[in-house]
Amino acid sequence: MNRHKMKNERKEQIDKEVEKTLQQLDRFERLENDPFFYTRLQAQLKSARNQHVPSGLLSFIGRHFRPAFLVLLLLLNLVSALVVFQNRNSASNSQTANISSFADEYSINDKSYDEYFTNN
């Protein structure tokens, strides 16, 4: 019974603290007027203007050249894929040519050898 009472008292105490803290929401102290605000802003705007890259030009480049750049990138990829593919083909062709010239030189292609081995 006593324990229950203590628990209730504690709950009440916490509720009171919570309410007191929540009251701070309605006691927001506003900041007073800053007489130098615009002067500081003017200085900041001036320095921002000096550093500012013409955004019109940037957005123009962004808008008009981005698709062109993408197309160029795609074309470059296609060309490089074609070059690689062609090189691979010509490399395998020259490899076949080398093998056949080697075979010719040592008469490996001569069918008489086949006959010799099958007969003996």
Partner: protein, 204 residues
């Protein structure tokens, strides 16, 4: 002198559309008028999120630089004020994300004993304007709980409670419906209560 004063007065009563046109046309004093009209609320909106006056002013400067640079692209689909506060919220949240990333990096460095002198220097607590020690402590506890809320709940409750935006204004800033904002604020309060209860249960 008198002429410039009347010019400033004329500009100060300009409607949003006219103000935008004047700034775009580069009319003298138009941008200054826009800044003066919104600076107070922008700074305080940022302050609601970051809770540090110098950081809030720095972020507000970034907000107006962004406004100056992108006003050309502003299509007037939303109100000028909505657009400005939306930028303020985005910049504040970006700042908090960067700060949290830095903090995590610091913890990571500490874990591997990579010493960073700058990380060891603690922020002075004098940045918080609350004079009363207890109130300051409570504000810090509340802020920690707020920081752990889901982002959209945090935005809704910060704009509502700290900056006094109406639910309709918040819905425009967050690009959602009024009923969603109401639900976000309600859930934020429930979550805050739970988090604070757990905190005091541990620390009392």
């Amino acid at each position: 002198m008198n002429q410039s004063l009347s010019e400033a007065l004329y500009i100060s009563v300009m409607e949003d559309a006219e103000l935008i046109r004047a700034v775009k046309a580069g009319e003298t004093g138009a941008f200054q008028s826009l800044v003066e009209q919104y600076q107070d609320r922008v700074i305080n909106t940022c302050y609601g999120f970051v809770r540090d006056r110098e950081d809030a002013k720095d972020i507000a400067q970034e907000v107006f630089i962004e406004i100056y640079q992108s006003l050309e692209k502003f299509r007037e689909e939303a109100k000028l004020s909505t657009w400005i506060y939306r930028i303020s919220v985005t910049k504040s949240l970006d700042f908090l994300r960067r700060k949290n990333r830095k903090k995590r990096m610091g913890q990571f460095k500490k874990l591997f004993n990579i010493d960073d002198v700058a990380e060891r220097i603690e922020q002075p607590s004098g940045n918080n304007p609350d004079k009363n020690m207890e109130a300051r402590e409570r504000a810090q506890i509340l802020q920690q709980a707020m920081d752990r809320l889901p982002e959209n709940q945090k935005i809704a409750i910060t704009l509502s409670k700290y900056e006094g935006f109406s639910n309709k204004e918040i819905s425009e800033i967050m690009n959602t419906s009024v009923s969603s904002v109401e639900s976000l604020i309600h859930r934020a309060k429930v979550n805050l209560k739970k988090k604070l209860y757990r905190y005091y249960d541990k620390h009392l």
